[in-house]
């Protein structure tokens, strides 16, 4: 029987029909292959080449070897941009993840009524266009008349300068990140609903508290979802551009000069496309390393058992 199946498969594999099907398949995906080669692979390889060149887009590229990479590590603005981005990854990503999980766990609670309405409320901010959200947050964070400082004033706290303060500008952006974590909440909720109810029932019989259930059941079983959300968030932070571009232009005192914003400035304001390409490749490598660390830390591919 086994021999008969493998013989049939061998005949099919080498049949004219199989070859014809392969040709049709190739024809169907040919436009995509051409698109991929022309509009994805070629630009990627070009950017790698340009990263070793002095290239201003208008003039022809001149090969300069590793000069761009060496100059980048001597560039104080680049180092500041790296520090600011690292701040957001080390502080902003975990905080956003914490709040997203906490809100999801609360919204998933059986004891809470009308949870669908709350889910809608938490998802609404993600529907607000970025530009509108930025303008809104400029108002919200206004030191003199903004909502945040007004509320803080009611409890006797004098709010900081937020976007006007080099120390508080990044925390202001983290608050904004948390505000727009509705997408992550939806994904966490889907992950939470995949956790078998029987595990919680068994834990309750054993007398486990809510905190113990969260630490021993919810978080371990939510690990793949946390990994996915954190990876997308880290990539998002590396590519973070619109918010600082609209709200602060990198200021005050370069405190919100993030990686992508400086890359953009080099490429399109200073005509340093080669320099910007080198910056992009460094970003790719660093993002890759950070994601590998996350994979290791959150035990990607390992079973919960």
């Amino acid at each position: 029987m086994k021999n008969s199946i493998s013989k049939e498969f061998y005949e099919y594999k080498h049949s004219r029909m199989r070859r014809a099907e392969a040709k049709h398949g190739l024809l169907f995906i040919l436009p995509w292959i051409i698109g991929f080669l022309g509009f994805t692979l070629y630009p990627i390889l070009s950017s790698l080449y340009y990263s070793f060149c002095d290239y201003s887009v208008i003039k022809m590229p001149v090969f300069t070897g590793l000069k761009n990479y060496i100059n980048l590590f001597r560039d104080s603005t680049f180092l500041t941009a790296c520090k600011n981005t690292a701040y957001m990854i080390i502080l902003g990503v975990p905080l956003t993840t914490f709040f997203a999980i906490a809100i999801s766990v609360i919204l998933n609670s059986k004891r809470l009524k009308h949870t669908s309405w709350f889910r809608v409320i938490f998802f609404i901010p993600t529907l607000v266009p970025t530009v509108v959200a930025c303008l809104l947050w400029i108002w919200v964070m206004q030191p003199e008349t903004g909502v945040v400082n007004t509320l803080l004033g009611y409890i006797g706290i004098k709010g900081p300068g937020w976007l006007a303060s080099p120390a508080w500008a990044k925390p202001a952006f983290i608050l904004m990140m948390i505000w727009t974590c509705g997408n992550a909440i939806i994904i966490y909720l889907a992950g939470l609903q995949d956790i078998p109810e029987s595990l919680y029932e068994a834990a309750e019989i054993d007398g486990a508290s809510f905190l113990r259930e969260t630490i021993s059941i919810t978080l371990p079983l939510l690990r793949p979802t946390i990994l996915y959300n954190m990876v997308t968030l880290v990539i998002g932070v590396f590519q973070w551009f619109a918010e600082p571009y609209i709200m602060t232009q990198g200021g005050p005192n370069n405190s919100t000069m993030f990686y992508s914003l400086y890359l953009y400035q080099n490429a399109f304001t200073y005509f340093k496309m080669g320099y910007a390409s080198a910056q992009a490749w460094i970003m790719l490598i660093v993002a890759f390393i950070v994601i590998l660390i996350l994979f290791k830390f959150l035990k990607f591919g390992e079973s919960n058992n």
Binding site: A20, K23, H24, L27, F28, L30, P31, I34, G35, G38, D54, S56, V57, I58, K59, T77, L135, I138, W139, M141, Q142, P143, E144, T145, G146, P160, G161, W162, L163, A164, S165, P166, G250, G251, P252, N253, N254, M257, Y264, Q265, A267, F268, T269, Y270, F271
Partner: protein, 485 residues
Amino acid sequence: MKKVKILAAMMATILIASSLTGCKNSSGTTESQKGTDETATTQSNAVSISGDKTTTKTVKMGDKDVEVEVTDIGKSGTFTYWSAYTGDSAVWEQKRVDAFNEAYAELGIQCELQFVPDGAGINNGKLLSSIAGGTAPDLIVSDNPTSCYQYVAEGSFMALDAVLDEIGLDVSSFYEGCKDVMYYDGSCYLIPQDTNVIMLYYNPEIAKECGLDPENPPKTIEELDEWSDAMTVQSDDGSYSRLGIVPWLDSGNEAFIVPYLFGADPYDKETGMINLTSGEMLNYMEWIQSYARKYDPEKINAFTSGLGQMFSPDHPFMTGKVGMTITGNWFSEALREYAPDVPYEVCAVPVPEGGRANSTTFGTNVFAIPSGTDAGKAEFAALFIKFAEQGSINEDNFAQWRSIPVIDAAFDDVSLTKEGDEMYALERQIANSPENGIPALCSVSAELSNQFVALRQNLIYNPDSDAKAQLQTLQNQMQATMDAK
């Protein structure tokens, strides 16, 4: 099976063909451009032989009838034009283009206007991409002359001397200060549409309230500081409810406007050297840092964060949070629009000894024709520039924004001059100072400006740090960048 095969082949062909349409389009354009170039060259010869014909016509500019000059170059066609203007200026721009199209309708020349925000795509890479991709417009007007100058240095705009001769536009009588931005390596690349002067705006009521004489505004930096101290009001909790002046507000936040008035020359065109460590520049930085030491910069900047930009009723001058500000003549329009009840007076920006007294840097909107523009279309674009330089076309612009002509003689035709407007007379007086100019125009203008602003912010937030050392580092770094070009 056969149907599937045919369907697959058809789909692949259609999709490949549609994908390649864009590529074919550009090669087609090149071919047609080549053809047009030849035609244009022939026509240019014909035009230079026959000479140009300029007639006068009356056209509609919005609701008004205006008299304009129309030049016949013996050619017809269309050209694309990217305008940086937004808001009220965009409305005015549309009227100007409509007037041009009406004036040149009989000659068969038409301008196709597109509004491209952020400096006509100059600040966001759109123009750069379009020039590199061969899809650039035939003409732009941008409000960012510094970046435009860097585009010139990169070879992105075409020299206009020949085409200006062709259509008969003489720019030799433009203000000398404007010529800083117009010329690069002896050729003319950028044409200012109009220009603006920088002044000190002050609130006379606040001045009176503080025992100052509004009729006798500050002339020196020492007097300005005295005025500022007198106007500053500190609350019991240590916060400030009003400041006299924030030196880095409005035009003070521009890279080199105030340093230039202090007497600094950040870039020497003759020697090709960047100079950020002159005595005048250090003097300026010391002045800035003295304010940062006196008042907590975070508290000061809290006044100016938020949406309180120039064109919003939250601007600190409009809300009375500052008594004075250094800005351009356009601020009068913002005040008229958003705070008509706030009184204001203007005077020349006070400067220290050795500074450029009663002078200004010229803020300007510039026209440019991207490199690679078809010769014929470049002539149409130049015709538009010539059209836009006319007093009758700029009259609304001058009246509304108080911007000024680029030629002194043209002041006489402006309604504000005819009406005897005092502020406009002061603008004219300042515009005629031989010390005027546009500083730091070089092949790294945009980067130099941004890095200088970042450095200044650092010095403001760390007022006790060594300004000279930081300026020296930036100077060396930027000089190396420029030399490497």
